[in-house]
Protein backbone atom coordinates (compact mmCIF):
# COMPACT_ATOMS: atom_id res chain seq x y z
CA UNK A 1 0.00 0.00 0.00
CA UNK A 2 2.10 2.85 -1.30
CA UNK A 3 1.46 6.17 0.38
CA UNK A 4 0.76 8.85 -2.15
CA UNK A 5 -0.16 12.05 -0.43
CA UNK A 6 -2.97 13.89 -2.20
CA UNK A 7 -1.41 16.83 -4.01
CA UNK A 8 -3.98 17.77 -6.57
CA UNK A 9 -2.57 21.21 -7.34
CA UNK A 10 1.01 19.94 -7.37
CA UNK A 11 2.39 21.82 -4.38
CA UNK A 12 5.35 19.46 -4.76
CA UNK A 13 6.52 21.44 -7.80
CA UNK A 14 6.77 24.58 -5.66
CA UNK A 15 9.14 23.02 -3.15
CA UNK A 16 12.92 23.20 -3.19
CA UNK A 17 14.85 19.96 -3.41
CA UNK A 18 15.93 20.39 0.19
CA UNK A 19 12.33 20.79 1.34
CA UNK A 20 11.33 17.67 -0.56
CA UNK A 21 14.19 15.67 0.91
CA UNK A 22 13.30 16.75 4.44
CA UNK A 23 9.66 15.90 3.86
CA UNK A 24 10.53 12.50 2.42
CA UNK A 25 12.88 11.76 5.31
CA UNK A 26 10.07 12.38 7.83
CA UNK A 27 7.51 10.59 5.69
CA UNK A 28 9.70 7.48 5.52
CA UNK A 29 10.31 7.60 9.27
CA UNK A 30 6.58 7.82 9.99
CA UNK A 31 5.92 4.95 7.59
CA UNK A 32 8.62 2.74 9.13
CA UNK A 33 8.40 3.61 12.80
CA UNK A 34 5.13 5.32 13.68
CA UNK A 35 2.42 3.64 11.62
CA UNK A 36 3.27 0.06 12.60
CA UNK A 37 3.29 1.01 16.30
CA UNK A 38 0.88 3.89 16.76
CA UNK A 39 -2.21 1.85 17.58
CA UNK A 40 -0.37 0.02 20.35
CA UNK A 41 1.04 3.30 21.65
CA UNK A 42 -2.49 4.70 21.75
CA UNK A 43 -3.93 1.68 23.46
CA UNK A 44 -1.20 1.83 26.08
CA UNK A 45 -1.40 5.61 26.30
CA UNK A 46 2.34 6.15 25.88
CA UNK A 47 4.64 8.24 23.73
CA UNK A 48 7.46 5.76 23.00
CA UNK A 49 10.79 7.18 24.06
CA UNK A 50 12.47 5.75 20.94
CA UNK A 51 10.47 8.23 18.89
CA UNK A 52 11.90 11.13 20.84
CA UNK A 53 15.39 9.80 20.16
CA UNK A 54 14.78 9.19 16.46
CA UNK A 55 13.08 12.53 15.94
CA UNK A 56 16.08 14.11 17.62
CA UNK A 57 18.46 12.18 15.36
CA UNK A 58 16.67 13.39 12.27
CA UNK A 59 17.49 16.91 13.39
CA UNK A 60 14.03 18.36 12.80
CA UNK A 61 13.30 19.89 16.21
CA UNK A 62 13.12 23.67 16.26
CA UNK A 63 13.11 23.48 12.46
CA UNK A 64 13.03 27.17 11.53
CA UNK A 65 15.42 28.37 14.27
CA UNK A 66 18.96 29.34 13.33
CA UNK A 67 22.08 28.88 15.39
CA UNK A 68 22.81 27.04 18.67
CA UNK A 69 22.64 23.66 16.91
CA UNK A 70 19.19 24.31 15.48
CA UNK A 71 18.28 23.17 11.96
CA UNK A 72 17.76 26.58 10.33
CA UNK A 73 15.27 25.27 7.79
CA UNK A 74 12.64 27.27 5.94
CA UNK A 75 9.15 27.65 7.39
CA UNK A 76 7.91 25.63 4.44
CA UNK A 77 10.17 22.78 5.54
CA UNK A 78 8.85 23.16 9.09
CA UNK A 79 5.32 22.93 7.75
CA UNK A 80 6.15 19.82 5.74
CA UNK A 81 7.66 18.21 8.82
CA UNK A 82 4.43 18.86 10.74
CA UNK A 83 2.35 17.58 7.84
CA UNK A 84 4.19 14.30 7.71
CA UNK A 85 4.30 13.81 11.48
CA UNK A 86 0.59 14.43 11.78
CA UNK A 87 -0.24 12.15 8.91
CA UNK A 88 1.13 9.63 11.38
CA UNK A 89 -0.55 10.99 14.50
CA UNK A 90 -1.38 14.40 15.94
CA UNK A 91 0.20 13.37 19.23
CA UNK A 92 3.55 12.81 17.55
CA UNK A 93 3.33 16.17 15.83
CA UNK A 94 2.34 17.76 19.16
CA UNK A 95 5.59 16.53 20.70
CA UNK A 96 7.56 18.28 17.97
CA UNK A 97 5.42 21.44 17.96
CA UNK A 98 5.75 21.92 21.69
CA UNK A 99 9.45 21.19 21.68
CA UNK A 100 10.23 23.44 18.75
CA UNK A 101 7.72 26.27 18.70
CA UNK A 102 6.71 26.52 22.34
CA UNK A 103 9.83 25.60 24.29
CA UNK A 104 12.85 26.18 22.03
CA UNK A 105 11.46 29.24 20.31
CA UNK A 106 10.91 31.43 23.41
CA UNK A 107 14.42 30.66 24.64
CA UNK A 108 15.79 31.42 21.19
CA UNK A 109 13.90 34.68 20.83
CA UNK A 110 13.65 36.00 24.39
CA UNK A 111 16.36 34.20 26.34
CA UNK A 112 19.81 35.35 27.42
CA UNK A 113 22.95 34.11 25.62
CA UNK A 114 23.66 31.82 28.55
CA UNK A 115 20.18 30.34 28.42
CA UNK A 116 20.40 29.76 24.67
CA UNK A 117 23.78 28.03 24.99
CA UNK A 118 22.62 25.99 27.94
CA UNK A 119 19.37 24.62 26.57
CA UNK A 120 19.02 24.91 22.80
CA UNK A 121 21.68 22.47 21.56
CA UNK A 122 20.37 19.66 23.80
CA UNK A 123 16.80 20.43 22.85
CA UNK A 124 17.61 20.39 19.14
CA UNK A 125 18.94 16.88 19.58
CA UNK A 126 15.91 15.76 21.54
CA UNK A 127 18.16 15.06 24.52
CA UNK A 128 16.46 17.76 26.58
CA UNK A 129 12.68 17.82 26.35
CA UNK A 130 10.81 21.07 26.87
CA UNK A 131 7.21 22.05 27.49
CA UNK A 132 5.18 25.27 27.62
CA UNK A 133 3.20 26.33 30.66
CA UNK A 134 0.56 28.94 29.81
CA UNK A 135 -2.89 27.39 30.20
CA UNK A 136 -4.32 26.99 33.68
CA UNK A 137 -7.28 25.02 34.99
CA UNK A 138 -9.40 28.19 35.04
CA UNK A 139 -7.66 30.19 32.34
CA UNK A 140 -7.66 28.78 28.82
CA UNK A 141 -8.91 31.15 26.17
CA UNK A 142 -8.25 33.96 28.63
CA UNK A 143 -4.59 33.57 29.52
CA UNK A 144 -4.22 37.23 30.42
CA UNK A 145 -5.99 36.73 33.74
CA UNK A 146 -3.78 33.83 34.81
CA UNK A 147 -3.11 33.45 38.51
CA UNK A 148 0.20 31.63 38.52
CA UNK A 149 2.55 34.13 40.05
CA UNK A 150 6.23 34.68 40.66
CA UNK A 151 7.64 36.62 43.56
CA UNK A 152 11.08 38.16 43.59
CA UNK A 153 12.71 36.91 46.77
CA UNK A 154 16.05 38.58 46.23
CA UNK A 155 18.24 35.60 45.37
CA UNK A 156 15.52 33.51 43.77
CA UNK A 157 12.03 33.59 42.37
CA UNK A 158 9.20 31.80 44.12
CA UNK A 159 6.53 30.34 41.83
CA UNK A 160 3.04 29.37 42.93
CA UNK A 161 0.18 28.10 40.86
CA UNK A 162 -0.69 25.34 38.42
CA UNK A 163 -0.77 24.82 34.71
CA UNK A 164 -2.90 22.27 32.92
CA UNK A 165 -3.07 20.50 29.52
CA UNK A 166 0.68 20.69 29.13
CA UNK A 167 2.02 18.42 26.36
CA UNK A 168 5.34 16.74 27.26
CA UNK A 169 5.06 17.98 30.87
CA UNK A 170 5.79 14.73 32.66
CA UNK A 171 8.73 13.81 30.42
CA UNK A 172 10.14 17.34 30.20
CA UNK A 173 13.55 18.36 31.47
CA UNK A 174 12.49 21.98 31.44
CA UNK A 175 9.32 24.02 31.25
CA UNK A 176 8.91 27.53 29.89
CA UNK A 177 6.35 28.85 32.35
CA UNK A 178 4.44 32.11 32.02
CA UNK A 179 3.59 33.69 35.34
CA UNK A 180 2.82 37.15 36.69
CA UNK A 181 5.67 38.97 38.31
CA UNK A 182 4.26 42.06 39.99
CA UNK A 183 1.18 41.74 37.85
CA UNK A 184 3.11 41.48 34.55
CA UNK A 185 3.40 38.26 32.59
CA UNK A 186 7.00 37.03 32.33
CA UNK A 187 8.56 33.81 31.13
CA UNK A 188 10.51 31.54 33.50
CA UNK A 189 12.49 28.40 32.83
CA UNK A 190 11.68 25.77 35.43
CA UNK A 191 13.83 22.64 35.49
CA UNK A 192 12.68 19.15 36.38
CA UNK A 193 14.58 18.97 39.65
CA UNK A 194 13.60 22.41 40.97
CA UNK A 195 12.27 22.37 44.50
CA UNK A 196 8.50 22.63 44.70
CA UNK A 197 7.86 21.62 41.09
CA UNK A 198 6.01 18.52 39.97
CA UNK A 199 4.46 17.42 36.69
CA UNK A 200 1.89 14.68 37.15
CA UNK A 201 0.44 13.07 34.05
CA UNK A 202 -3.21 13.56 33.16
CA UNK A 203 -4.88 10.24 32.47
CA UNK A 204 -8.16 9.20 30.97
CA UNK A 205 -7.89 10.98 27.63
CA UNK A 206 -9.87 9.90 24.60
CA UNK A 207 -7.72 12.05 22.38
CA UNK A 208 -3.96 12.44 21.75
CA UNK A 209 -3.48 9.18 23.59
CA UNK A 210 0.06 8.69 22.26
CA UNK A 211 1.05 12.05 23.68
CA UNK A 212 2.01 12.93 27.24
CA UNK A 213 -0.38 15.52 28.73
CA UNK A 214 0.36 16.85 32.17
CA UNK A 215 -0.29 19.33 34.92
CA UNK A 216 2.54 21.54 36.14
CA UNK A 217 2.26 22.22 39.83
CA UNK A 218 4.25 24.96 41.58
CA UNK A 219 4.16 24.95 45.35
CA UNK A 220 6.66 27.47 46.62
CA UNK A 221 8.79 26.45 43.72
CA UNK A 222 12.21 28.04 44.02
CA UNK A 223 14.07 28.91 40.84
CA UNK A 224 17.37 30.82 40.47
CA UNK A 225 17.19 34.42 39.25
CA UNK A 226 18.93 33.58 35.98
CA UNK A 227 15.90 31.59 34.84
CA UNK A 228 13.77 34.53 33.85
CA UNK A 229 13.50 35.24 30.13
CA UNK A 230 14.90 38.75 30.00
CA UNK A 231 13.65 40.06 26.70
CA UNK A 232 9.89 39.83 26.80
CA UNK A 233 7.04 41.10 28.92
CA UNK A 234 3.31 40.56 28.66
CA UNK A 235 1.27 38.29 26.44
CA UNK A 236 3.44 39.06 23.44
CA UNK A 237 5.79 36.39 24.73
CA UNK A 238 3.43 33.42 24.80
CA UNK A 239 1.49 34.63 21.75
CA UNK A 240 4.64 34.71 19.60
CA UNK A 241 5.21 31.09 20.52
CA UNK A 242 1.63 30.18 19.79
CA UNK A 243 1.77 31.78 16.37
CA UNK A 244 4.65 29.55 15.40
CA UNK A 245 2.95 26.43 16.69
CA UNK A 246 -0.33 27.37 15.03
CA UNK A 247 1.48 27.77 11.75
CA UNK A 248 2.86 24.22 12.03
CA UNK A 249 -0.57 22.92 12.94
CA UNK A 250 -2.10 24.36 9.78
CA UNK A 251 0.18 22.01 7.85
CA UNK A 252 -0.24 19.18 10.33
CA UNK A 253 -3.98 19.17 9.87
CA UNK A 254 -3.45 18.71 6.14
CA UNK A 255 -1.41 15.59 6.90
CA UNK A 256 -4.16 14.12 9.06
CA UNK A 257 -6.73 14.93 6.39
CA UNK A 258 -4.57 13.31 3.70
CA UNK A 259 -4.33 10.16 5.77
CA UNK A 260 -8.11 10.02 6.25
CA UNK A 261 -8.75 10.77 2.58
CA UNK A 262 -6.39 8.01 1.43
CA UNK A 263 -7.94 5.48 3.75
CA UNK A 264 -11.46 6.41 2.62
CA UNK A 265 -10.54 6.19 -1.04
CA UNK A 266 -8.87 2.81 -0.74
CA UNK A 267 -11.66 1.45 1.39
CA UNK A 268 -14.32 2.70 -1.00
CA UNK A 269 -12.56 1.02 -3.91
CA UNK A 270 -12.35 -2.32 -2.11
CA UNK A 271 -15.66 -2.47 -0.30
CA UNK A 272 -18.30 -4.18 -2.42
CA UNK A 273 -22.01 -3.73 -1.62
CA UNK A 274 -24.92 -4.50 -3.88
CA UNK A 275 -22.39 -5.99 -6.26
CA UNK A 276 -20.33 -2.84 -6.77
CA UNK A 277 -17.49 -1.05 -5.01
CA UNK A 278 -19.00 1.74 -2.93
CA UNK A 279 -16.62 4.11 -4.74
CA UNK A 280 -19.01 3.79 -7.66
CA UNK A 281 -21.91 5.30 -5.70
CA UNK A 282 -22.63 8.98 -6.23
CA UNK A 283 -22.95 9.92 -2.56
CA UNK A 284 -19.55 8.40 -1.83
CA UNK A 285 -17.95 10.20 -4.76
CA UNK A 286 -19.51 13.43 -3.57
CA UNK A 287 -17.83 13.00 -0.20
CA UNK A 288 -14.45 12.09 -1.68
CA UNK A 289 -14.66 15.03 -4.02
CA UNK A 290 -15.42 17.39 -1.12
CA UNK A 291 -12.43 16.03 0.74
CA UNK A 292 -10.18 16.62 -2.28
CA UNK A 293 -11.44 20.18 -2.57
CA UNK A 294 -10.89 20.98 1.07
CA UNK A 295 -7.46 19.40 1.27
CA UNK A 296 -6.35 21.27 -1.84
CA UNK A 297 -7.58 24.58 -0.46
CA UNK A 298 -5.96 23.87 2.88
CA UNK A 299 -2.65 23.03 1.22
CA UNK A 300 -2.61 26.28 -0.67
CA UNK A 301 -3.40 28.27 2.48
CA UNK A 302 -0.64 26.52 4.38
CA UNK A 303 1.87 26.89 1.57
CA UNK A 304 1.17 30.56 1.09
CA UNK A 305 1.35 31.45 4.76
CA UNK A 306 4.59 29.45 4.86
CA UNK A 307 6.02 31.65 2.13
CA UNK A 308 4.96 34.74 4.08
CA UNK A 309 6.58 33.38 7.22
CA UNK A 310 9.76 32.89 5.22
CA UNK A 311 9.79 36.40 3.81
CA UNK A 312 8.55 38.02 7.01
CA UNK A 313 5.45 39.57 5.50
CA UNK A 314 2.91 37.75 7.68
CA UNK A 315 0.47 38.95 10.30
CA UNK A 316 -0.92 36.77 13.10
CA UNK A 317 -4.48 36.91 11.76
CA UNK A 318 -3.30 35.16 8.61
CA UNK A 319 -2.06 32.31 10.74
CA UNK A 320 -5.34 32.19 12.62
CA UNK A 321 -7.15 31.75 9.32
CA UNK A 322 -4.93 28.87 8.24
CA UNK A 323 -5.06 27.08 11.58
CA UNK A 324 -8.79 27.30 12.04
CA UNK A 325 -9.66 26.49 8.46
CA UNK A 326 -7.36 23.53 8.12
CA UNK A 327 -8.15 21.93 11.46
CA UNK A 328 -11.85 22.40 10.86
CA UNK A 329 -11.72 20.78 7.42
CA UNK A 330 -9.49 17.97 8.71
CA UNK A 331 -11.96 17.12 11.47
CA UNK A 332 -14.83 17.11 8.98
CA UNK A 333 -12.82 14.91 6.65
CA UNK A 334 -12.01 12.50 9.46
CA UNK A 335 -15.70 12.18 10.30
CA UNK A 336 -16.69 11.81 6.68
CA UNK A 337 -13.97 9.24 6.18
CA UNK A 338 -15.19 7.26 9.17
CA UNK A 339 -18.63 7.33 7.61
CA UNK A 340 -17.31 5.94 4.34
CA UNK A 341 -15.57 3.14 6.22
CA UNK A 342 -18.88 2.12 7.75
CA UNK A 343 -18.60 -0.01 10.85
CA UNK A 344 -15.01 -0.83 9.97
CA UNK A 345 -14.20 2.80 10.62
CA UNK A 346 -14.50 2.35 14.36
CA UNK A 347 -11.73 -0.23 14.47
CA UNK A 348 -8.11 0.68 14.98
CA UNK A 349 -7.44 -1.31 11.80
CA UNK A 350 -7.98 2.06 10.19
CA UNK A 351 -6.52 5.37 11.34
CA UNK A 352 -9.64 7.46 10.85
CA UNK A 353 -11.27 7.45 14.24
CA UNK A 354 -7.94 8.02 15.95
CA UNK A 355 -7.42 11.08 13.75
CA UNK A 356 -10.98 12.16 14.46
CA UNK A 357 -10.50 11.97 18.20
CA UNK A 358 -7.11 13.70 18.01
CA UNK A 359 -8.42 16.54 15.90
CA UNK A 360 -10.94 17.41 18.59
CA UNK A 361 -7.96 18.41 20.71
CA UNK A 362 -6.19 20.11 17.84
CA UNK A 363 -9.32 22.14 17.19
CA UNK A 364 -9.30 23.25 20.81
CA UNK A 365 -5.66 23.87 21.63
CA UNK A 366 -3.45 26.64 20.30
CA UNK A 367 -6.50 28.84 20.24
CA UNK A 368 -9.94 27.30 19.93
CA UNK A 369 -11.75 27.46 16.64
CA UNK A 370 -14.03 30.15 18.02
CA UNK A 371 -11.21 32.26 19.36
CA UNK A 372 -9.58 32.33 15.93
CA UNK A 373 -12.94 33.24 14.52
CA UNK A 374 -13.04 36.25 16.80
CA UNK A 375 -9.47 37.18 15.99
CA UNK A 376 -10.55 37.45 12.39
CA UNK A 377 -13.73 39.23 13.42
CA UNK A 378 -11.70 41.84 15.23
CA UNK A 379 -9.43 42.20 12.23
CA UNK A 380 -12.38 42.69 9.93
CA UNK A 381 -14.34 45.13 12.06
CA UNK A 382 -11.79 46.67 14.37
CA UNK A 383 -14.08 45.71 17.24
CA UNK A 384 -13.06 43.02 19.73
CA UNK A 385 -15.83 40.67 20.74
CA UNK A 386 -13.90 38.36 23.09
CA UNK A 387 -15.26 39.94 26.23
CA UNK A 388 -18.06 42.13 27.38
CA UNK A 389 -16.93 45.50 28.58
CA UNK A 390 -17.75 45.81 32.28
Amino acid sequence: MAYEALDFYDIDSLLTEEERMVRDMVRDWVEDRVLPNIEDACRDGVFPDEWRVEIGEMGILGAPLKGYGCPGLSYIAYGLICQELERGDSGVRSFASVQGSLAMYPIWDFGSEEQKEKYLPGMAKGELVGCFGLTEPDYGSNPGDMITRAEDKGDHFLLNGAKMWITNGTIADLAVVWAKLEGEIRGFIVEKGDEGFSAPEMKGKHSLKASVTSELVFQDCKIPKDRILPSVKGLRGPFSCLNNARYGISWGAVGAAQSCFNSAREYALSRIQFGHPIASFQLVQNKLSWMLREITKGQLLAFHIGKKKDDGSWIPEQISLAKMNNVDMALEIARMSRDIHGANGILDEYPVMRHMANLESVKTYEGTHDIHNLILGRHITGIQSFTREP
Binding site: A2, E18, M21, M25, D28, E57, M58, G59, G72
Partner: protein, 251 residues
Protein backbone atom coordinates in the same frame (compact mmCIF):
# COMPACT_ATOMS: atom_id res chain seq x y z
CA UNK B 1 41.42 3.32 -0.73
CA UNK B 2 37.71 3.79 -0.94
CA UNK B 3 34.52 2.36 -2.38
CA UNK B 4 32.83 3.14 -5.66
CA UNK B 5 29.08 2.67 -5.36
CA UNK B 6 26.97 2.35 -8.48
CA UNK B 7 23.46 3.70 -8.11
CA UNK B 8 20.66 3.41 -10.59
CA UNK B 9 17.65 5.68 -10.53
CA UNK B 10 14.44 3.80 -11.14
CA UNK B 11 10.74 4.55 -10.77
CA UNK B 12 9.92 4.14 -7.08
CA UNK B 13 8.77 0.58 -6.55
CA UNK B 14 5.44 1.94 -5.36
CA UNK B 15 4.95 4.20 -8.38
CA UNK B 16 2.33 3.33 -10.91
CA UNK B 17 3.81 2.37 -14.28
CA UNK B 18 1.65 3.22 -17.26
CA UNK B 19 2.16 2.38 -20.90
CA UNK B 20 1.41 4.71 -23.74
CA UNK B 21 2.05 4.17 -27.42
CA UNK B 22 3.75 0.85 -26.75
CA UNK B 23 6.27 2.35 -24.37
CA UNK B 24 6.46 2.82 -20.62
CA UNK B 25 5.41 6.42 -20.06
CA UNK B 26 8.28 7.84 -18.04
CA UNK B 27 6.70 11.26 -17.98
CA UNK B 28 3.83 9.95 -15.88
CA UNK B 29 6.06 8.54 -13.18
CA UNK B 30 5.55 10.57 -10.03
CA UNK B 31 8.44 9.35 -7.95
CA UNK B 32 11.98 8.29 -8.82
CA UNK B 33 14.25 6.58 -6.29
CA UNK B 34 17.54 4.78 -5.88
CA UNK B 35 17.01 1.14 -6.85
CA UNK B 36 16.42 -0.71 -3.55
CA UNK B 37 19.31 -3.19 -3.75
CA UNK B 38 21.67 -0.32 -4.58
CA UNK B 39 20.65 1.29 -1.29
CA UNK B 40 22.05 -1.68 0.60
CA UNK B 41 25.29 -1.35 -1.35
CA UNK B 42 25.46 2.32 -0.40
CA UNK B 43 24.76 1.58 3.26
CA UNK B 44 27.57 -0.95 3.39
CA UNK B 45 29.93 1.45 1.64
CA UNK B 46 29.20 4.17 4.20
CA UNK B 47 29.84 1.67 6.99
CA UNK B 48 33.23 0.88 5.46
CA UNK B 49 33.97 4.59 5.29
CA UNK B 50 33.09 4.92 8.97
CA UNK B 51 35.45 2.06 9.71
CA UNK B 52 38.23 4.07 8.07
CA UNK B 53 38.37 2.45 4.66
CA UNK B 54 38.34 5.73 2.75
CA UNK B 55 35.93 7.79 0.73
CA UNK B 56 32.72 6.76 -0.93
CA UNK B 57 32.22 7.81 -4.52
CA UNK B 58 28.66 7.46 -5.80
CA UNK B 59 28.30 7.00 -9.54
CA UNK B 60 25.14 7.05 -11.61
CA UNK B 61 24.52 6.83 -15.33
CA UNK B 62 21.35 8.37 -16.65
CA UNK B 63 19.47 11.51 -17.65
CA UNK B 64 19.41 14.78 -15.71
CA UNK B 65 16.85 13.57 -13.19
CA UNK B 66 19.28 10.88 -12.01
CA UNK B 67 21.29 13.55 -10.20
CA UNK B 68 18.74 13.31 -7.39
CA UNK B 69 20.11 9.84 -6.58
CA UNK B 70 23.51 11.33 -5.98
CA UNK B 71 22.18 14.05 -3.70
CA UNK B 72 20.37 11.39 -1.71
CA UNK B 73 23.62 9.44 -1.48
CA UNK B 74 25.45 12.55 -0.31
CA UNK B 75 22.80 13.08 2.37
CA UNK B 76 23.80 9.81 4.00
CA UNK B 77 27.52 10.30 3.59
CA UNK B 78 28.81 9.83 0.04
CA UNK B 79 31.88 12.01 -0.44
CA UNK B 80 32.10 12.43 -4.18
CA UNK B 81 29.36 12.33 -6.77
CA UNK B 82 29.75 11.41 -10.43
CA UNK B 83 26.92 11.70 -12.94
CA UNK B 84 27.45 10.19 -16.36
CA UNK B 85 24.88 12.15 -18.28
CA UNK B 86 23.06 10.31 -21.02
CA UNK B 87 19.48 10.24 -22.26
CA UNK B 88 19.86 7.19 -24.45
CA UNK B 89 18.69 3.67 -23.86
CA UNK B 90 21.84 1.69 -23.23
CA UNK B 91 22.57 -1.99 -23.70
CA UNK B 92 24.64 -3.95 -21.19
CA UNK B 93 27.92 -3.33 -23.00
CA UNK B 94 27.36 0.41 -23.25
CA UNK B 95 26.39 0.79 -19.59
CA UNK B 96 29.32 -1.28 -18.43
CA UNK B 97 31.86 0.59 -20.51
CA UNK B 98 30.67 3.94 -19.15
CA UNK B 99 30.61 2.77 -15.56
CA UNK B 100 33.95 0.99 -15.79
CA UNK B 101 35.58 4.12 -17.22
CA UNK B 102 34.25 6.13 -14.29
CA UNK B 103 35.32 3.50 -11.76
CA UNK B 104 38.82 3.33 -13.28
CA UNK B 105 39.08 7.08 -12.89
CA UNK B 106 38.53 6.76 -9.14
CA UNK B 107 41.34 4.23 -8.84
CA UNK B 108 39.30 2.30 -6.30
CA UNK B 109 39.44 -1.45 -6.05
CA UNK B 110 36.17 -2.07 -4.22
CA UNK B 111 32.97 -1.58 -6.18
CA UNK B 112 29.49 -2.11 -4.78
CA UNK B 113 26.09 -2.16 -6.44
CA UNK B 114 22.74 -3.88 -6.15
CA UNK B 115 22.43 -7.40 -7.49
CA UNK B 116 19.79 -6.26 -9.96
CA UNK B 117 17.97 -3.04 -10.73
CA UNK B 118 14.29 -2.68 -9.90
CA UNK B 119 13.39 -1.70 -13.45
CA UNK B 120 15.11 -4.26 -15.67
CA UNK B 121 15.51 -6.89 -12.92
CA UNK B 122 18.49 -8.10 -15.00
CA UNK B 123 21.57 -8.27 -12.80
CA UNK B 124 24.08 -7.99 -15.63
CA UNK B 125 25.91 -4.85 -14.58
CA UNK B 126 27.83 -6.09 -11.54
CA UNK B 127 29.38 -9.25 -13.01
CA UNK B 128 29.81 -7.68 -16.45
CA UNK B 129 31.58 -4.69 -14.97
CA UNK B 130 33.85 -6.96 -12.95
CA UNK B 131 34.79 -8.74 -16.13
CA UNK B 132 35.53 -5.48 -17.96
CA UNK B 133 37.62 -4.14 -15.09
CA UNK B 134 39.38 -7.45 -14.52
CA UNK B 135 38.05 -7.55 -10.96
CA UNK B 136 36.61 -10.51 -9.08
CA UNK B 137 32.91 -10.60 -8.45
CA UNK B 138 30.93 -11.82 -5.48
CA UNK B 139 27.20 -11.68 -6.06
CA UNK B 140 24.17 -11.57 -3.81
CA UNK B 141 26.02 -10.49 -0.65
CA UNK B 142 24.33 -9.26 2.48
CA UNK B 143 27.36 -7.62 4.04
CA UNK B 144 31.02 -6.87 3.35
CA UNK B 145 33.77 -6.03 5.80
CA UNK B 146 37.42 -5.34 5.13
CA UNK B 147 40.26 -6.41 7.35
CA UNK B 148 43.97 -6.42 6.67
CA UNK B 149 43.66 -5.97 2.94
CA UNK B 150 41.14 -8.77 2.52
CA UNK B 151 37.40 -8.49 2.06
CA UNK B 152 34.93 -10.72 3.83
CA UNK B 153 31.48 -11.09 2.39
CA UNK B 154 28.40 -12.98 3.50
CA UNK B 155 26.64 -14.44 0.49
CA UNK B 156 24.06 -17.03 -0.32
CA UNK B 157 26.16 -19.60 -2.14
CA UNK B 158 25.07 -22.79 -3.87
CA UNK B 159 25.21 -24.70 -0.58
CA UNK B 160 23.72 -22.08 1.63
CA UNK B 161 24.75 -18.98 3.50
CA UNK B 162 28.50 -18.67 3.70
CA UNK B 163 31.25 -16.25 4.54
CA UNK B 164 33.83 -15.83 1.81
CA UNK B 165 37.21 -14.17 1.74
CA UNK B 166 38.34 -12.23 -1.32
CA UNK B 167 41.75 -10.87 -2.12
CA UNK B 168 42.32 -8.26 -4.77
CA UNK B 169 39.96 -5.87 -6.53
CA UNK B 170 36.36 -6.96 -6.42
CA UNK B 171 32.82 -6.02 -7.38
CA UNK B 172 30.22 -6.91 -4.74
CA UNK B 173 26.58 -7.07 -5.77
CA UNK B 174 24.08 -6.70 -2.95
CA UNK B 175 20.97 -8.52 -1.95
CA UNK B 176 18.87 -7.14 0.89
CA UNK B 177 21.55 -6.46 3.45
CA UNK B 178 21.87 -7.38 7.08
CA UNK B 179 22.04 -3.75 8.12
CA UNK B 180 19.12 -1.39 8.36
CA UNK B 181 19.38 1.45 5.91
CA UNK B 182 20.35 4.64 7.69
CA UNK B 183 18.07 7.62 7.41
CA UNK B 184 19.44 10.94 6.27
CA UNK B 185 19.13 13.77 8.77
CA UNK B 186 18.65 17.47 8.25
CA UNK B 187 22.35 18.20 8.53
CA UNK B 188 23.13 15.58 5.90
CA UNK B 189 20.44 16.96 3.61
CA UNK B 190 21.71 20.50 3.93
CA UNK B 191 25.30 19.49 3.28
CA UNK B 192 24.24 17.33 0.35
CA UNK B 193 22.58 20.34 -1.21
CA UNK B 194 25.97 22.05 -1.37
CA UNK B 195 27.91 19.08 -2.67
CA UNK B 196 28.99 19.46 -6.30
CA UNK B 197 28.24 16.75 -8.79
CA UNK B 198 30.85 15.89 -11.42
CA UNK B 199 28.74 15.75 -14.53
CA UNK B 200 30.40 13.88 -17.35
CA UNK B 201 29.35 13.14 -20.89
CA UNK B 202 30.31 9.78 -22.38
CA UNK B 203 32.83 11.59 -24.57
CA UNK B 204 34.56 12.92 -21.46
CA UNK B 205 35.21 9.32 -20.50
CA UNK B 206 36.60 8.61 -23.92
CA UNK B 207 33.55 6.66 -24.96
CA UNK B 208 32.22 7.51 -28.37
CA UNK B 209 28.68 7.36 -29.60
CA UNK B 210 27.40 3.98 -30.52
CA UNK B 211 24.04 2.43 -31.12
CA UNK B 212 22.53 0.10 -28.61
CA UNK B 213 22.65 -3.47 -29.83
CA UNK B 214 19.37 -4.13 -28.05
CA UNK B 215 16.37 -2.23 -29.38
CA UNK B 216 13.05 -2.00 -27.60
CA UNK B 217 10.24 -3.10 -29.87
CA UNK B 218 7.27 -2.93 -27.57
CA UNK B 219 6.06 -2.51 -24.03
CA UNK B 220 2.73 -3.96 -23.06
CA UNK B 221 0.75 -4.74 -19.98
CA UNK B 222 0.52 -8.32 -18.81
CA UNK B 223 -2.71 -9.97 -19.92
CA UNK B 224 -5.72 -9.47 -17.67
CA UNK B 225 -5.83 -12.09 -15.00
CA UNK B 226 -8.13 -14.94 -15.86
CA UNK B 227 -11.19 -15.17 -13.64
CA UNK B 228 -10.62 -17.37 -10.62
CA UNK B 229 -11.15 -21.09 -10.93
CA UNK B 230 -12.94 -22.93 -8.15
CA UNK B 231 -12.46 -26.58 -7.32
CA UNK B 232 -14.15 -28.80 -4.80
CA UNK B 233 -12.50 -31.34 -2.55
CA UNK B 234 -8.95 -32.32 -1.79
CA UNK B 235 -8.99 -34.56 -4.88
CA UNK B 236 -8.58 -31.42 -6.94
CA UNK B 237 -5.26 -30.52 -5.31
CA UNK B 238 -3.07 -32.36 -7.85
CA UNK B 239 -4.79 -30.56 -10.71
CA UNK B 240 -4.31 -27.21 -9.01
CA UNK B 241 -0.66 -27.90 -8.35
CA UNK B 242 -0.22 -28.68 -12.05
CA UNK B 243 -1.79 -25.35 -12.87
CA UNK B 244 0.43 -23.51 -10.42
CA UNK B 245 3.37 -24.75 -12.44
CA UNK B 246 1.88 -24.96 -15.93
CA UNK B 247 -0.48 -21.98 -16.02
CA UNK B 248 0.76 -19.62 -13.39
CA UNK B 249 4.41 -20.66 -13.39
CA UNK B 250 4.82 -19.67 -9.79
CA UNK B 251 6.54 -22.81 -8.55
Amino acid sequence: MGVAVLLKQVPDTTAKISISGGRVDEGSITKWSISPYDEYALENAIQLKEAGFGDVVAITCGPARAAKCLTEAAAVGADRLIHILTDSYLDSIQVQSLLSAAVKETGFEVVMCGKQAADTNSGSTGPGLASTLGFSCVGGVTGVSIDGGLAYATRLGPSGLEKVEVGGPCVFTFDKGDSELRRPNVRGIMMAKKKPIDSLLPNDLGIGDSNSMVVIKDHSSPPEKQPGQKFVGSESVPEVVEKLRGEANVI
